[in-house]
């Protein structure tokens, strides 16, 4: 709500002081920090904020918040958050899932919340493993991944969360890396400001059961060359020396080095997160750090009708049109007869 937006809060206002129980070094610590900071920056009061999660290590997050919080059941938090937002639209609602919680058992609720474009912020803490249950593969684990339940490697392909979100007609998708606090805060705040379902995938390291799973991307040395931070309205430039760029290549994208093979800065694409078509957004989101750098930042952020707002609008419209002031007046307007 606009009138709640102030800058009077500090990250401490969103903490509650209880000891944080994730393993030391778990990526969730950094994400929690970023969230506290993003909430302070957005400025919605703690008592007007709700954090609703499912089950998993990541879903413990509400216990570390100074807001309203609900740690629910495995996979269902998107549905619970949807009902919460409809019932109490003044609240800013954050929904937190792991990759198993959100995309396996909760996959159906995930796509439908995105499709409805209900105004909630959906965090997907993706460690490509089931952490809480101690190391089984998840729907985001790569083909061939060896885990306790795939001792010979998986024989199935993973979901790419962005692709699923776009398939469900998502209006907001952003990606961040747990240890990149700056980008995390930026995308979390952007998610909060976006009206509708905002999906934020955060690559999270599970120290214990999947340590280093994102190293190819997140390694300090290679990160500048394997990731690109997309910012709306800015050129798609990346690389240690800031001399690489993304250009259009037929129907696809290509990474080039500026000044080589005749490529100039003018050829490099400018990011437009607000364009309604998701065609380019999809291609950007599918970049995986190999041929093309993995995109972080806000990839897509477009306006579309918001489910809970339309429900509220319709309620007001039919209330005014029918003019009933109580159940009784509604019933009396129907077919009745009087016995004297």
């Amino acid at each position: 709500m606009e009138e709640n937006i102030t800058t009077q809060y500090t990250p401490a206002d969103f903490k509650n002081g209880s000891p944080v129980r994730w393993c030391p070094g778990c990526g969730d610590h950094a994400i929690l920090n970023s969230l506290h900071k993003a909430m302070a920056a957005v400025g919605v009061a703690p008592h007007n904020t709700a954090v609703i999660s499912g089950i998993g290590c990541s879903s413990r997050l509400p216990y570390y918040m100074g807001t309203y919080g609900f740690h629910t059941i495995h996979g269902r938090s998107a549905a619970i958050a949807t009902g919460f937002k409809l019932a109490n639209p003044e609240m800013t609602v954050w929904q937190v899932s792991g990759d198993g919680d959100g995309l396996a058992i909760g996959g159906n609720h995930f796509i439908h919340a995105v499709r409805r474009n209900v105004d909630i912020n959906m965090l997907l803490l993706n460690n490509k493993i089931y952490g809480l249950t101690k190391g089984q593969y998840s729907p985001t684990s790569d083909r061939g991944f060896v885990s306790k339940t795939s001792p010979y490697g998986t024989t199935e392909d993973p979901f790419i969360p962005a692709e699923l979100a776009f398939g469900a007609r998502g209006t907001f998708f952003a990606r961040a890396i747990d240890v990149e606090l700056q980008v995390s805060q930026e995308v979390l705040a952007a998610a909060a400001r976006h009206k509708g379902a905002s999906v934020v995938e955060i690559l999270q390291n599970c120290m214990i059961y999947n340590n280093g799973i994102h190293n190819f991307i997140t390694d300090r040395e290679t990160r500048p060359d394997r990731t690109i931070h997309l910012v709306h309205g800015e050129k798609m430039i990346f690389g240690k020396d800031k001399n690489r760029g993304i250009v259009q290549d037929g129907f696809g994208l290509k990474a080039v080095t500026i000044g080589v093979d005749g490529w100039t800065i003018d050829d490099v694409l400018v990011h437009d997160a607000h364009t309604p078509s998701n065609f380019l957004h999809q291609q950007l989101a599918m970049m995986d750090g190999h041929e093309l750098p993995l995109a972080i930042g806000v990839i897509r952020d477009v306006e579309a009708p918001v489910y809970n707002e339309d429900v509220d609008r319709q309620v007001e419209e039919v209330k005014a049109a029918h003019g009933f002031d109580s159940l009784r007046s509604m019933i009396l307007a129907g077919e009745t007869w009087e016995v004297k």
Binding site: A50, Y68, A79, S326
Partner: protein, 614 residues
Amino acid sequence: MLDKANVIDTDKVVVRFSGDSGDGMQLVGNIFTNVSAGIGNQVSTFPDYPAEIRAPQGSLGGVSGFQVSIGNDVHTPGDLCDVLIAMNAAALKANARNLRQPGGVAIVDIDSFKDSDLKKAEYTTDDPFKELGLNAQVLEVPVTTLTKAALADSGLDNKSMLKCRNIFCLGLVCWLFDRPLEAAVNFLRKKFAKKPAIFAANEKVIHAGYDYGHNIHAGVSTYRIESEAARPGVYTDINGNTATAWGLIMASEKSGRPLFLGSYPITPATDILQELAKRKDLGVKACQMEDEIAGVCSAIGASFAGNLAVTSTSGPGLALKSEGIGLAVMAELPLVVIDVQRGGPSTGLPTKTEQTDLMQALYGRNGESPVAVVAPASPTDCFTMAFEASRIAIEHMTPVILLSDAFIGNGSSAWRIPDADEYPAIKPNYVPDDLAGSWKPYDRNDDQVRYWAIPGTPGLAHRIGGLEKDFVTGAISTSPENHERMVMVRREKIERIANNIPALEAIEPQGADTILVGWGGTYGHLRTAATELTAEGTPMAFAQLRYINPLPANTREILGRYKRVIVAELNTGMMADYLQAKFPELKIERINKIQGQPFKVSEVKDAVKAILSK
């Protein structure tokens, strides 16, 4: 074949309209019911839909029926009908066993008894009446011919003319029962307000049907129904599912909490979602979610957010909601779960009635997971019990399961529209002001009820969830002693609801040493059976359990007065087992039926007599 003209004076009569599912039997049944209720008769109806939505025309699978009982002391739609309207050969065949024989009247459209019709209805001879061994007056009316004749110069095409056949029969039945035609015409006028040509045709045809009856007066019995004056007030016709929806709205008005429904379509509960979807005009938010799990979960979210939150379903959906209900038990949030029971297990008999979800409601969750369970007795009682379920949920911070069923959900009766002040205020257990500052999320009042802190309130931000909580601090706890304490507290909270519900009231005639006990939608049949047994010289007490968990505090005392307790139910004995476990000292006998059909009064009486003579 026909008796000579006579007028039967009666205080109760049962009429059944039957035909192809496209013949408009539900419409004429409804109009006839409303007209009867409008002149002061008590009414009870039951629509009998075909299992297949588009079965071939004229086949047995496509027969649709609507039965209504009208008159005095009417509690059921009746066992057997006095008058059967059969629009074709299949309808007669499917319904002959529902006709009182001898003594009943069958009115058939003889135009739909041609060889091809008989074949489609799987008759094996060319004399359908003989083949069925019908021992009743049969009035063979060329309904199709007469309808077309009445509309000869209406300009309607053949198909549209045939659609008016049902209204011809309505006219005829109005004559038979001396119903005012003008009232029926008024209903038609409203129904076809946007199609004046169709209204004009139907108006013509209803008169043709009425006049036909008048002219063949010599042919058949007519009825004069004596009925006691009903309680003064404004009435409407209401079915159980609509009553359930409206009871929830009343609870929302009386509690000041907005109403939220999260649901997923399923027969026979869908009407509740559909009705509440219309009631956006009263501020209701009814959301069709992606599945039953999302239905209950969105409701749980709405409950945490501070709404009167409800989910509606039938047995298969209740199974899917189990884990969610367990969360509401653990988080101690108000939640109303409506199960309009149908035949099971699995997809079972989707359109038929049964009482087989009692154990699922009581025990169908993991862990020690007690919830309140209530069951309405009749279509109109659905209003009261939906209100009660909401009241208990809100005042005791617990899930409450309301066990309705297909019979009362679809059945209807005349209902006096209550004033809001006939229902008590519902008092949410908000965090008291004097606890502000020190309040913890699992603090409780004297009835062990957790306080409800509505999100958005400054100073009350808190975290709850499905993990076990410390009794004092509300923080996550794995302490063994604390867990046992919390299990016992949640249990005690449910038991204490008994202090906040009405006592059990039984009908206890002098000299009765046996009590007939029922629950849910069998009320009308069981009560009528007990009354008739008493009148016939076998004094029979009767008790209806509308509150099942917890039972009213005086249940043991009342049942304990009787040498024999007979529990009659549409399952293999779930309530009997439940009562026997609670009250081992009682001698409990059972009457059970699992055919997807309601009891018949006569079969209950026979079964009671069989038990008494053991």
